[in-house]
C-alpha cells in the first residue's frame, strides 16, 4: 500500500485545484464544478483515514462518506437548478454579472 501521506497529498492537490477554480473562474457552472472537486477531495480524505485508521472494521469512515456523497449530490442538484433559474432571469451565468445586491 502507498502510505497515508500519498493519499492526503492527492486530496490536497485536488482540493486546491477546486479552490483555485472556485476563486478565479467567473462562470457559475465552473464554480459548481470546483465545489464538486473539493467535495471529492474530502471524500478521498475520509476514505483514506478510514483505511489507515485504527479500527477499519467498524466502517465509520465509509458510512460518513456515503452520507457526504448524498449531501453533495443534493447540493449539485439544487445548485444546478439555481443556475438554470438565474440563467433564465439574467440571461447569463457569469457570477460577476449578477450584482443586484452589491452595494
Amino acid at each position: 500500500m502507498p502510505p497515508l501521506s500519498f493519499y492526503l497529498f492527492f486530496a490536497a492537490v485536488l482540493f486546491c485545484t477546486g479552490l483555485a477554480g472556485a476563486l478565479s473562474r467567473r462562470n457559475a457552472i465552473v464554480v459548481l464544478f470546483s465545489l464538486e472537486l473539493m467535495f471529492a477531495a474530502c471524500h478521498l480524505n475520509l476514505i483514506a483515514f478510514w483505511r489507515y485508521g485504527p479500527q477499519p472494521e467498524l466502517y465509520h469512515g465509509q458510512v460518513f462518506t456515503l452520507f457526504s456523497i448524498a449531501v453533495s449530490g443534493a447540493e449539485a442538484a439544487v445548485g444546478l437548478a439555481l443556475i438554470l433559474r438565474i440563467f433564465r432571469h439574467y440571461r447569463t451565468v457569469q457570477v460577476t454579472e449578477i450584482r443586484e445586491l452589491k452595494g
Binding site: F10, T17, L23, I69, G73, V78, L84, V93, T96, E97
Partner: protein
C-alpha cells in the same frame, strides 16, 4: 493484488490522471469539455476508492457521479448556452490570479502539514499491528460489513439522508420549472422569444 509495487504504480497512474483531468475541468474555456473532464475525474476517483479497499463506495461513486451528476451537469451546460455575449467570457485581469495564488498558498500549507505529520508515511503513530492486519486482509470485500454497520448503527441517519435527497430533488424540479408557460395572461418576456 498483493504486490505493493503494482499498487504504487496504480496509485501514481490514477493520481496523475485524476489531477490532470481535474485541472482541465476547472481551467478549460469550453464548458462541455470541462464537464467531460469532470466526469473523468469522478470516474478516476471511483478507482481510487477501490484501490483503498472501499469497493462499495467506488461503485456508489460511479453510480452517483458518473451516472447521475454527469447527466445533470451536461444538461445544465447545454441549457445555459449563451452565444450572444462574447464579451462576458473574458474575465477581468488580476482578480483570477489572486484566487490562484491564494489556492497555492493553501496548498503549500496543506502539503507542509501532511509531510510534517508523524501520522504520515510509515511513521510510528499507526501501530504496526494495524498495518499488518490491513495489509494481510487487503482487497477483501467490504460491502457486507459496511451495510451491516450502516443499518445497525446508523439506520435513522440513513432514512434522513433519503429524506434529504427527496426534498432536494423536489426543490430542484420546482426551481428549474418554467412557470411562465402556465400563465397565458401574463405579458410576454421580450427576451425569451415566442418559439
Amino acid at each position: 493484488m498483493p504486490d505493493p509495487k503494482i499498487q504504487l504504480v496504480l496509485f501514481l497512474g490514477v493520481f496523475f490522471l485524476t489531477v490532470s483531468a481535474g485541472f482541465y475541468a476547472v481551467s478549460l474555456r469550453n464548458l462541455v469539455h470541462a464537464a467531460l473532464f469532470l466526469i473523468l475525474t469522478f470516474a478516476c476517483l471511483g478507482g481510487v476508492f477501490i484501490l483503498l479497499n472501499a469497493d462499495f463506495l467506488g461503485a456508489v461513486q460511479l453510480l452517483v457521479y458518473v451516472g447521475a451528476v454527469a447527466v445533470l451537469v451536461l444538461f445544465a451546460v447545454m441549457l445555459t448556452r449563451n452565444v450572444s455575449l462574447p464579451g462576458a467570457v473574458t474575465p477581468a485581469a488580476g482578480t483570477g490570479l489572486a484566487g490562484v495564488v491564494l489556492a497555492l498558498v493553501v496548498f503549500t500549507c496543506m502539503a507542509a502539514s501532511i509531510f510534517a505529520d508523524p501520522l504520515a508515511g510509515t511513521g510510528p503513530a499507526v501501530p504496526v499491528m494495524v498495518r499488518d492486519r490491513v495489509n494481510a486482509h487487503s482487497f477483501e470485500p467490504t460491502t457486507a460489513g459496511f451495510s451491516r454497520a450502516l443499518i445497525e448503527g446508523h439506520a435513522v441517519a440513513f432514512q434522513i439522508a433519503g429524506l434529504l435527497l427527496t426534498a432536494a430533488l423536489m426543490s430542484a424540479i420546482l426551481l428549474a420549472q418554467d412557470f411562465r408557460k402556465k400563465q397565458p395572461g401574463s405579458p410576454a418576456d421580450p427576451r425569451t422569444g415566442t418559439h
